[in-house]
Amino acid sequence: MTSRIASRRPTRAHRFFRHPVGLAASAVFGLILLVALFAPWLAPKDPNFVDLLMAKAPPGDGYLLGGDPTGRDILSRLIYGARTTLFGAAITIVTAILMGVPSGILAGYFGRGSDRALSWVSDAIQAVPGMIILLVVAAGTRSNFALIMVTVGFIMAPGYFRIARSTTMALRGEDYITAARVAGLTHLRVLRTHILPGIIAPIIIQTALAAGLSMGIQAGLQFLGIGDSNTPSWGAMMAEGFRFMLTDPWLLFWPSAALGVTIAALALIGSTLAEIMRMPAARARAQAPVRALPAAASPEGHFVSTPEAAAARVENLRVAYRGEGGEKQVIHGISFDVAPGEVLGIVGESGSGKSQTVFSLLDLLPHNGRCEADGIWVHGRRIDNLAPKDRARLLGSELGYVPQEPMSNLDPSFTIGFQLTEPLRVVHGMRRSAAREKARAVLARVGIADVDRVMQAYPHEVSGGMAQRVLIAGAILAEPSVLLADEPTTALDVTVQAEVLELLRELQADTGMSLVLVTHNFGVVADICDRVIVVRDGEIVESGAVEAIFSNARHPYTRELIAAAVDTETLRRDLDLQAGAHPRDHQIIELAEVTK
């Protein structure tokens, strides 16, 4: 692990300096740093040398930027001011790191009591008004510069504490650290070799920000007149300039510009570092020219209707996703149709591209996905060349969608009643009372007994099975002619699975709509589908009527899927027989399904 990080670090530094913003910002800051370090050699004059004739003088006569109100060289004072500013920031940073980082690592690594105690202290420090503390310390120590900056560091320590704590906590959870502990490494060794390298980068980023903030506070205090008048400082120069702002604006401009540029450079260094940390090596933003996605097999053989007669028809669908390493095609030409009133199963393992097919049909692919097709038809109307707005108009009334995870598919902030009635009111122009009536009727139809309670409930207040019924209700509210159900039972308990499938079958039979059911489970297919297409790695490997496929699957992948389903079925039946379908056994069955 250490070697991995060690080998990665130079590339990060390399990338930082190749980043134009990072390079420019660090060049500017490096220059300011050099000026501060070599101030005595660079400054043309003694910063406190007074030449009364030069008071507020324009540039010239050896005073390159002119003189200040008491006749001192502005440039020299700016150069020495950089020294003061950076020195103060350094004190702050060292104090804050010494106080915040070790305690943060401690709290994050050992957790429990030490974490609670240290976090409380950190929160308490943040609650106390920092400016009052600073001003009191300044008054009490007669503006001792170093002590004031130490106090600033004290106020900033909670920032470091939080970052060190959360980073350590995240690293502590990693498997390799648990493994290292099990292997007998001492805490100290684990901290040194595994934790420390991991928190250095976030600490550096935080330091770039904290240094800027500390300079701002420092200048603010100096602006208020806190500090030694003999030490040149940008803040004090700004205060002086502010007084003569109307007559001599340059007096204010120079120190303000120096402070602004320094802080901006630090901020840009910090943000560039953070960006490099977040982004993996390959630049995802590199805009590859949009190319046509290649198709694999010919679409023949998977259609049962003409484009005009089918409820929905997809011809040669290709889907690709933009990712870290460029664009990756996940569907290589899928073609199918579904006749009115037909139940079509799309079967395959997770990752085979089933859900992407559904999202393409709905035009709801994520931002980084795109699809191409030779044609998509709904009720004989070609829709893949429609404007997004017109595509969206099909949703709800033509195409309904039942998602997989019941809990994550309901908006947690709105009542179920609101989520059901909103599209009726907004899209279909129903009055509030009519929409409520309709929603209640559909909820009752999908088998919800306690309609009043569910209408007023928030999603977290209902069970998973009930939430799935609510989602089915939402999908059929506007009476779509094609219902697309994406693994509608996978996330549910076994008993509830059967009920929900039964419900879908009933609804389909009652309304005569077409149903496209995406699943990984051939058992579900056997229960409810008329016809099935089997998808693997974004291609159709086999399609046909359900009985035909079950009795005579040609592709080995299909046979594998069928065998897996039959195993589960047998297992389930056996267990049901043994234990009388005791609730606890569902967990065993589900476990069996998961491990399979």
Binding site: I133, A139, I263, Y401, S408, V426
Partner: protein, 313 residues
């Protein structure tokens, strides 16, 4: 709800007690001989002793603390050492000024932060988003008083749109009041705008990827309605930042108040610290922490209203 409020109020009282106790002892530690600051270095030991006796500084520190705390609990924050006026009266003059400026700044930050964050979050990677991201980095780092100077130069001196310095009371002249707090509020709000905007942007991006947003779209819901769902779910994080900004500006606007010559809490803090007026400093601490506690309770109530999952029954 009442239980929740009572609990939060109790926690707030504990924080209030802890913060004021901490400030009491810190102030006495830092300002070891307040009479020196009050009388100046020319004072004779006799004068110092007389003043110390008058202010009760000759008693043990714990007795002084007990005295102060007993008064504070009864609503009496003591008497300023500087001009012997009740601290409560001093504060009642200063608090409205600071509250006006900070409240206005938070309002500006809330409105513009929401606009900026929503536009950026709904179109991440767009030109607008990238420009705002660049500005955010720099505006976040620059101190508020630095921006104040810029704004004064531009809007008060060159354009003469607003008065450069001074405060007009609302009761005297509402328009003048608004003009007098405009520049300081704007300069305080710039940093807050980008913080609120950044937080909201990231939350909007995160919420937009949620399953339920796709499901809402699948019902045919128009984009502007979907956006309301996204905004409501993204709002708590931005509101939290807004509350934090309020809390930190309340006691942190010292330099900006000095620049605009606003007779607010910041100016009182600075002058009281300089002269070692500990009762005034304690009063400021109590008032600031009180408002911070109040704001956080309001924040929790707002978040509970937005997100029923965290609502306390």
């Amino acid at each position: 709800m009442l239980v929740f409020l009572a609990k939060r109020a109790l926690a707030g009282l504990i924080l209030l007690a802890a913060a004021s106790t901490g400030t009491f002892f810190l102030a006495h530690l830092a300002i070891s001989d307040p009479t020196q600051a009050l009388l100046g270095t020319a004072a004779t030991p006799e004068q110092s002793a007389a003043l110390a006796a008058k202010l009760g500084l000759d008693r043990p520190l714990l007795v002084q603390y007990w005295d102060w705390a007993r008064g504070a609990v009864q609503g009496d924050l003591g008497t300023s050492w500087r001009n012997e006026r009740p601290v409560g009266e001093l504060l009642s003059l200063r608090v409205p000024v600071t509250l006006s400026v900070v409240g206005f700044a938070v309002l500006i930050a809330g409105v513009f932060g929401t606009i900026v964050g929503l536009i950026g979050g709904l179109n991440p990677g767009s030109v607008f988003d990238r420009i705002v991201q660049g500005i955010t980095v720099i505006l976040f780092a620059l101190p508020g008083f630095w921006l104040s100077l810029l704004l004064i130069l531009w809007f008060a001196i060159w354009l003469r749109w607003f008065p450069a310095v001074g405060y007009v009371r609302f009761g005297d002249d509402p328009i003048g009041w608004l003009r007098s707090i405009s520049l300081p509020s704007v300069s305080l709000s710039l940093g807050a705008i980008v913080m609120v905007g950044e937080q909201l942007r990231n939350q909007v991006i995160a919420v937009s990827k949620m399953d339920y947003v796709r499901t809402l779209r699948s019902r045919g819901l128009p984009a502007r309605h979907v956006r309301l769902h996204i905004l409501r779910n993204a709002a708590p994080a931005a509101l939290t930042v807004l509350a934090i900004m309020f809390a930190s500006l309340l006691s942190g606007a010292v330099v900006v108040e000095a620049i605009f010559s606003l007779p607010g809490l910041g100016e009182l803090t600075q002058s009281s610290a300089q002269i070692g007026d500990i009762p005034a400093l304690l009063g400021i601490t109590v008032v600031s922490v009180f408002f911070v506690v109040l704001i956080y309770i309001l924040l929790d109530m707002a978040i509970g209203w937005i997100n029923p999952k965290v609502r306390v029954h």
